[in-house]
Symmetry: C2
Subunit: 323 residues, 2 copies
């Protein structure tokens, strides 16, 4: 069986491995917990899990694991040489060259690494919601916000391979503190983490009175999930908060549209559970937030076609592209 | 004489035309006032002036104007087909196809159009401060902020040719109103116009007490030029205000570095008179404002090599590239 590759999306809590054919069909799937590398060299325990995944997926299809290209999608700033330079959500593997570790553990198979959101952008561009679109940005809304930029049909990698760190674009100078060390980063307002923060803020300010009451009158006990669930039931104050997240989402998309003149955004990641309210609000607000909106062709915002699989799927393209 | 081209940087108040050799030497120069097209069809009076410039520059060198490629650098959102879609600073020519008008007036010579800051980026990349650098952003600080993005050695044009509108990236949600219709755009803080606005604000807030006194005690009479002049003389309150502009400049540069992973910025435009204080402050603040700064190679910020000429010089490259 030729033309297949394995892509693994290595997240902070789990690793999703897919065996994918060149035409995008998923032939095998395996999910594992991402270990913490305490007591090991950087990345060793993680590498062990990844080796198991590769071997398992190959065995199921009677493939020689040394002959199947492997791509890794990793959260954080991936250097072009394969090193993970800065990864707040995968700290135990920071600095490790997972590609080299995995390659030697697999009898020197070809292993290539790329930022996870960049992988997602590649998958959506090749097979999904960005197919045939030369200029778009993949936006993954999870705890933070990841990004992959396609300009004129090509992934923008930047000088060191770090391009697409869109979640750390400051949209509120002197704003909310961010784990990156900065203040007012977009992801403090428009991600899952941002929803969590805005929920806390709104509860304390009395804008979630009904939800606070349901939580025994304790504002700090209202969680983002409560807001999402209540909005689905039609509670106005919850819908209003999700629409506020949508406004913040639109603000960052408008910035990207001004900078890159991308006509399309593909939204992925875990906040999609809130997409019923967040995305429509974002679409509405784009018109007032994008510079020269009326002089531009329509800007579209759609959800990812492959959802949580897009990172691992795109990682196979990185493997095939270089191999 | 082959291998020459004419580039014209058409600004809101004047048009600078240059005859440039392929190696970057400037062989001729002419500056004219940009007319206002009241009472004419969109762009007609402007076209008349541009024709005079082309003919004059060609006559001086005994060139046939029909054989010399002409490139126009225009302020605002240039569509890839040559139409000026959105140009707040050149309103009378908005919607005009200056390229087609000029082309037919010049016996169908080849005329090509591009955004002025994109032209400047091309010139600096080919001959100047961005030579040999694959990923950098040209930032022009004038009344507003223009931008030209070079990624992996190529100008990023975007879907319609509008990429690089970096001045309208929002850095302060709900911030100062901008002529574009938005609020909190970067150029309201870090451009010449931004300095003007911050001067007014600081004077009213009592942070420019000495300058207000020099202006007869009337805060509204303190101008940006007064701040620049007083800073050059060492007046602390003036230096502090210019350093504040430098902080805002660094904030936007940090955003661009996160999004694009560009390792270099070339600063041009009219605010360079203040660069003695603004740029050093911007360089200092970058370290605290760029996400994962320590994990990245050094980010450099230099001034444009060709100053006010870079737009017209780059316009010749647009002409030659397409011709």
């Amino acid at each position: 069986m030729s033309g297949v590759a394995i892509g693994i999306d290595v997240g902070g809590t789990k690793a999703l491995a897919l065996l994918v054919a060149r035409d995008g069909r998923v032939l095998g799937e395996m999910v594992s917990q991402t270990p913490h590398d305490e007591g090991f060299g950087a990345g060793e325990a993680t590498t062990k899990v990844l080796v198991e995944q590769v071997n398992e997926l190959c065995e199921r299809q009677s493939l020689d694991s040394a002959l199947v290209p492997v791509g890794l999608g990793l959260p954080g700033m991936m250097r072009r040489d394969g090193h993970l330079a800065f990864a707040p959500n995968l700290q135990t593997a920071a600095g490790a060259d997972l590609g080299a570790l995995l390659g030697s553990a697999l009898a020197n198979a070809s292993v290539f690494c790329e930022n996870d959101a960049n992988c997602a952008a590649l998958a959506e561009h090749e097979w999904g919601a960005g197919r045939g679109i030369g200029d778009f940005v993949m936006v993954t809304l999870g705890t933070g916000i990841g990004g992959g930029i396609i300009a004129d049909g090509q992934l923008v990698r930047g000088r060191s391979g770090f391009a697409g760190e869109i979640g750390h674009m400051v949209v509120e100078a002197h704003g909310a503190p961010c784990p990156c060390g900065g203040r007012g980063c977009w992801e403090r307002y428009a991600s899952g983490g941002g929803l969590h923060r805005l929920t806390r803020e709104a509860a304390l300010e009395g804008r979630l009175a009904t939800l606070v009451e349901r939580c025994g009158g304790e504002p700090k006990r209202v969680r983002a999930e409560d807001v999402t669930a209540a909005a689905a039931e039609g509670l106005d104050e919850a819908v209003a908060l999700l629409r506020e997240v949508g406004w913040w989402l639109a603000l960052g998309l408008a910035n990207l549209a001004a900078i890159l003149d991308c006509g399309h955004f593909v939204i992925g990641g875990g906040l999609s559970s809130a997409s019923e309210f967040v995305l429509p609000a974002a679409r509405e607000h784009l018109a007032e937030l994008v510079e020269g909106y009326d002089a531009r062709p329509t800007i579209t915002v759609t959800t990812s076609m492959f959802g949580p699989r897009s990172g691992a799927m795109g990682a196979t393209l990185v493997a095939v592209e270089v191999a």
